[in-house]
């Protein structure tokens, strides 16, 4: 410890310095107030012993100066004076001194005063150190939060939001939300929506949900099926997060052409289909544990299905919504949520739920992230998305020279195991068929491939689909037969041709099945007797410049115009 001793008497100065040196302290000295201020600034003492009556500048003035120049740390100042008057003592303390001793000094008392002042100074130092550390931590924390916020805001692609169809509201419990809502389109223009709710809330939850975001977008865009997407999401979360962290999720895929909804609900509250009158027509319970709990082998990716016959909305929420507590700890509840959904469409149903919930939690602490999402499912196809029809022409398509040809023959094992369409689309991307051709080519390929698989290989009767309720049965049967499949082949051939200077893509799909009465089917579809089957084939006919069936109907050949 370094002590600054200030006294105009050389004898006192020497006496005190000797005393302090004897105790092992370092010393500085000054003979008046002005010297004391300079010595203080230059020598940085830890304690000051200050005489009061001195020439040039007295002790009180010097103390006031010192207190004025140094705010950062507290250095005790102890006055020594011959004046025993209480008002003098008060003046010293007012000037910024910390204690006052009467001369002649009792050295024993002085030693103890110094130790006591030092203890206080040490504590002050510690507090100041903590405060600086805390401040530094706060600033670091703020920087990290800003970075994380930036990352999260950019990783969820707002440009992919579908404001015409999807309405969502996410209310985080803290700075960050562990709930995210994402939408993406498949190349075939199906709309995929993901509501993910990671364990807990705040930054740790927000980080936990990141692994699912990119996979969801990229797999949707490559045309992977809902089952393949959720399987991959589960694998990712399981691989990347610790055991006690997981992501409850609802993933839905909507095919506006066939008016079907596929839902995979793992650990989230019930999902509803509510018609425009406010009736709940379908409820999807959570039928799986959340993403990231089961191993790939245990994981079940099979979604549930629904085929809508009247317009309505898919409604989903995170568990933060029914569990949101008011100031008396009463939860909002699923019952109240369902009651509010009973209002007719067009009467502000979404905002009603949102406002009621906000009113409910008013004055209470929000414990978890809350999110609410609705997706419009209408009967009109105007909202289907941007599928443009190409102009049919009747020109000859039998000649021309080939640019490249891709031929793929899949056996039963591959058909069961592979998500074939994204695989082929990936090759087409490598072969540069062009982004604007991609969606339509995918639609054509997927219709032809699925027909070959469903009817040719799995021998499913499309009559099923005529019955509105038969669709789910159809899908279930499809899953069952696919699982049991042991034989059969599907051959896909894609060829880029130059026909009379025109750029064409030939798509041929042949299956090992018995074929079907394609002429009858098309005639029936055209006479509008059948609303549910054959719709896909009509779409293919519209998109291609030529579609024909060969053999027994087990081979379809389409010519698609590339531009």
């Amino acid at each position: 410890m370094k002590i600054l001793v200030v006294d105009d008497s050389p004898e006192n100065l020497v006496l005190l310095k000797q005393h302090f040196i004897g105790l092992g302290y370092e010393t500085l000295s000054a003979r008046n107030g002005a010297e004391a201020v300079t010595a203080y600034q230059e020598g940085q003492p830890d304690l000051v012993i200050m005489d009061v009556e001195m020439p040039v500048m007295n002790g009180y003035q010097a103390t006031a100066r010192i207190r004025h120049i140094d705010h950062r740390r507290w250095v005790p100042i102890l006055f020594l004076s011959t004046n025993t008057d209480d008002s003098e003592r008060t003046k010293g303390l007012e000037a910024g001194g910390d204690d006052y001793l009467i001369k002649p000094v009792n050295l024993f008392l002085l030693n103890n005063k110094i130790l006591a002042l030092r203890r206080v100074a040490d504590m002050q130092d510690q507090v100041a150190r903590y405060a600086r550390q805390l401040q530094a931590n706060l600033e670091q924390n703020r920087d990290e939060r800003l970075l994380a916020r930036y990352l999260l805001d950019h990783i969820i692609r707002q440009d992919k939001a579908e404001p015409d169809l999807v309405t969502s509201w996410v209310s985080p419990a803290q700075h960050f939300s562990g709930d995210v809502v994402m939408t993406a389109r498949s190349p075939g223009n199906e709309l995929n929506v993901l509501l993910a709710d990671a364990t807990g809330h705040g930054l740790s939850a927000a980080i936990s949900v990141i692994p699912v975001i990119e996979s969801f977008y990229s797999m949707s865009e490559k045309g992977f099926t809902l089952a393949s997407i959720v399987r991959e999401l589960n694998r990712k979360v399981k691989q990347l997060l610790p055991i006690d962290r997981f992501v409850a999720a609802v993933v839905i895929s909507i095919d506006f052409t066939n008016r079907t909804i596929r839902v995979w609900n793992g650990g989230a509250p019930e999902v509803f289909f509510v018609n425009d009158g406010g009736d709940i027509l379908r409820t999807w319970q959570s039928t799986h544990p959340a993403l990231g709990i089961l191993s790939d082998r245990e994981f079940d990716s099979v979604p549930q299905f629904f085929n809508w016959q009247e317009s309505g909305e898919v409604v989903m929420c995170s568990d933060g919504l029914p569990e949101a507590e008011d100031s008396n700890k009463i939860p909002f509840s699923m019952t109240q949520f369902k009651r509010l959904l009973g209002r007719p469409y067009g009467t502000g149903r979404f905002n009603l739920v949102k406002d009621s919930l906000k009113a409910h939690i008013e004055g209470a602490q929000q414990l978890d992230d809350i999110s609410l999402v609705t997706v419009r499912c209408c009967m009109e196809t105007a909202l289907m998305g941007p599928v443009e029809e190409s102009k049919p022409s009747l020109q000859s398509v039998n000649t021309g020279h080939s640019c490249w040809r891709l031929n793929l023959c899949l056996g039963a094992e591959e058909i069961k195991r592979l998500d074939v369409l994204p695989l082929i689309m990936n090759w087409l991307d490598q072969l540069h068929i062009g982004a604007h051709n991609r969606g339509q080519a995918f639609l054509v390929l997927s219709e032809l491939f699925n027909n070959a698989l469903d009817h040719g290989i799995l021998k499913l009767d499309s009559q099923f689909k005529q019955d509105p309720n038969g669709f789910e049965q159809y899908i279930e049967l499809r899953e069952a037969r696919l699982t049991a499949l042991t034989e059969g082949t599907v051959e896909v051939e894609m060829e880029r041709l130059n026909i009379e200077g025109q750029d064409r893509l030939s798509i041929r799909v042949k299956d090992s099945g018995p074929g079907f009465d394609y002429l009858g089917m098309i005639a029936k579809r055209e006479s509008a007797q059948d609303q549910y089957s054959g719709r896909g084939i009509m779409l293919v006919k519209q998109l291609c410049i030529n579609l024909e069936y060969l053999g027994n109907g087990n081979e379809a050949s389409a010519i698609f115009a590339l531009d």
Binding site: D244, F246, G266, S286, T287, P289, A290
Partner: protein, 103 residues
């Protein structure tokens, strides 16, 4: 009501009892209790009594998953006992019936 965690071991059977709100705030008590149980030689059954639990959140589900993992590694059979209806509902939504035996 304050949340509490307590445990008892009788020969090969351990009982871990939870009361009040089961959420992240009790994770320290939860861990110290289960560590005692898992470190006791001879224990091969672990009952987690949820009867006193009024509320369970997702971080608590995570804590149960973690315990299940650790118990399985030590060949300890873990069972969730007597959840109240509200808690049972949460376990059902999470499909924990597939992962735990719940009685």
């Amino acid at each position: 009501m304050a949340s509490t965690v307590s445990s008892r071991i009788n020969d090969n059977k351990a009982l871990l009892s939870l009361n009040g709100r089961f959420d992240f705030s009790i994770h320290r008590d939860f861990r110290s209790n289960y560590e005692t149980i898992l470190n006791t030689v001879g224990v091969n059954e672990l009952d987690v009594d949820l009867n006193g639990v009024d509320y369970i959140d997702s971080s608590a589900l995570g804590m149960l998953l973690l315990l299940r993992e650790k118990a399985t590694a030590k060949n300890i059979k873990m069972t969730l006992l007597n959840p109240k209806d509200s808690v049972r509902q949460v376990l059902e939504v999470a499909n924990f019936g597939r992962l735990f035996s719940i009685t």
